[in-house]
Amino acid sequence: MSDRSTTPGSQLRRGAGALWDSIAAAARSSCAAVCAVLRLCEEWLFGAKRAQYGLAVTRILLGVMIVGVVLTNFTTMRYTFGSGAAWTGQLEYPSSDFAKIFPFTLVNQAAHSDIGILAVMLGLLACGVLFMVGYRTRLVMIPLFVLWVGFLSINTYVQDQSDNLTRISFLALFFTASSDRWSVDAFRRIKHRDTQGNALLRLWRFQIVLPGWFTTLLHNLAVVVLICQLCFVYASGGLFKAGGVPWQNGTAVYAPIHTERFGTWPVLSDLATAWGPAVAIATIGTVLIQVSFPFLMLNRFTRVFGLLAILGFHLGIGLLMGLPWFSLSMIALDAIFIRDKTWSKLTRRLRLSWEERRNSKKAHLSIGEPAEHDPLAAPAPTSASN
């Protein structure tokens, strides 16, 4: 209240000073906020490898998918990819870009002969199984990638968008430690935990060679890339659909499953689309879930809902539209959105119930005669707690 006597000039000066102070304070605090965010990002990227169990599930399911594609097309491989399909012109004038890029050209060339396409399929089968179980994963991924991308580029008549997605995902997976969990490699690492050797030997034994911060950084950046890729795929898929009348009026899912190509189970298609409101829910729900997928992933509660909804969506596509391997690759990649905490909780619960069952069985057995060589009595593996 003593300011009442001051001149207008000094008031102005004081006002300007206060303004300046608050600007400086704001600048300081926003700078601090930016620094805090940057530090948080740095900590997230360097702190630990994220989504390790999720990526293990991705690896396992992608392996199953590749094995499944090979087995599904095994008896018709020469008809679809080999010399039986030369009429498509795809052998002589391949339309895929990859058919012109080394080493994928080799796979394309191999398709010309019966032995060659058989070798490609068997190679894919072997690499797919090894990838699935995580056996020398980093090494196996190289021939697997060449064979898979090459195989898909043989005949573009039978390609679909999930083929693009698996290729793109593999490019990111190369930078991840996808076999750190639930793999033969992980067992190997534990087995050789206390042994020494040169870098090559250590690599062969799946021991840590490169500095931890470096592999962790690449791993986490690749996880970010995969997460963004999936979010973009779902959201754009929803946006593209939202412009179409059948998606707006809630009838779109009816049409494809009543065509011969995508309605592989006509009786189920009739059943699934008999009740109009269900068709509308599936149609509008698809658009809404797809568009909102990135935002649903931000919060634990909505994430559970979003992932269950999208799982149902993929199971529906896999069964009703005859696209099981397309669906499985999408499900495989969605697994990275489930936190490591959740995966470990899940496995712990499974193990507990398994041990309980085993114990009750043992108790039951011991009433009769003692089971001296119970194969189930081996100590439970403790791989998840390293």
């Binding site: 900590e43 968008q161 494809p256 099981p324 936190r339």
Partner: protein, 270 residues
Amino acid sequence: MTQTPATEPAVPRAPHRTALARITLVVTGLFTAWHIFASFLWISPPSELRSVVPGNLLEEYMIPWYGQSWSVFAPEPINGDYHFQVRAIVSDGEKTGGKATYKATEWVDASSVELSMSRYNLFPPRAASLSVQQASKLLNQWKELNSDQKKTVALGYYEGDNWLGRMQEALDKQGTDKSKVVNYILQERYSSAYATQVAYAIWGQDRVTQVQFMVSRQNIVPFAERHDPDAQRPDAEIADTGWRGLITMPGQSNENFRDVFLAHYDGNAR
């Protein structure tokens, strides 16, 4: 989010990373940011935002490794069936007095034969949609032709080895856009090659002299009429194409085609 053993001492994380780590973080982080931004632009519906990337850089970065398109079943999902039917002129094989007799066969729906591989099959092979794909490719190019050109392709072209070239010349004379003709002729070639394989498989390589294919697309019963037992499917759109000579693409194995095709051909497909 690794599980850290409870025994590990709770050492506060060293906030000071080495300079190398920080530089690596900045470089890889910036590259990742660019990749994500480029993916965003490429995957999302095209907008003016794409113009912030200079020149052709976006496409050069994305293609071929990150090539993808997610307008699947959008804006409208597929609502019709493509079919590829084949018939042939076959000789009776028995030369009576040195003279063979020729007759046209019934139509065989090759697409139905292939699609039977996926019907009620949890794990359908990709082979099931080969001719459906060829049918849609030919029909889409046929639709690009003008009415005069459509009349031309309805005629028979089979004499000699150069019938496809003669058809191309005739089509070129009737239209101004030569690229449309090239695209159509390409699909004629592959369609004839497919029809030849189907005919060889069913009627035998030594008997077939000409083939004809009928490519069509027919929409399904509309949603609103799905419970109407008398509902009719809309009329099929048919590419009217005449008799054609035989084409065998280089490297084609007739046996590898025949073995699979006949395994699913019950002898009386439509």
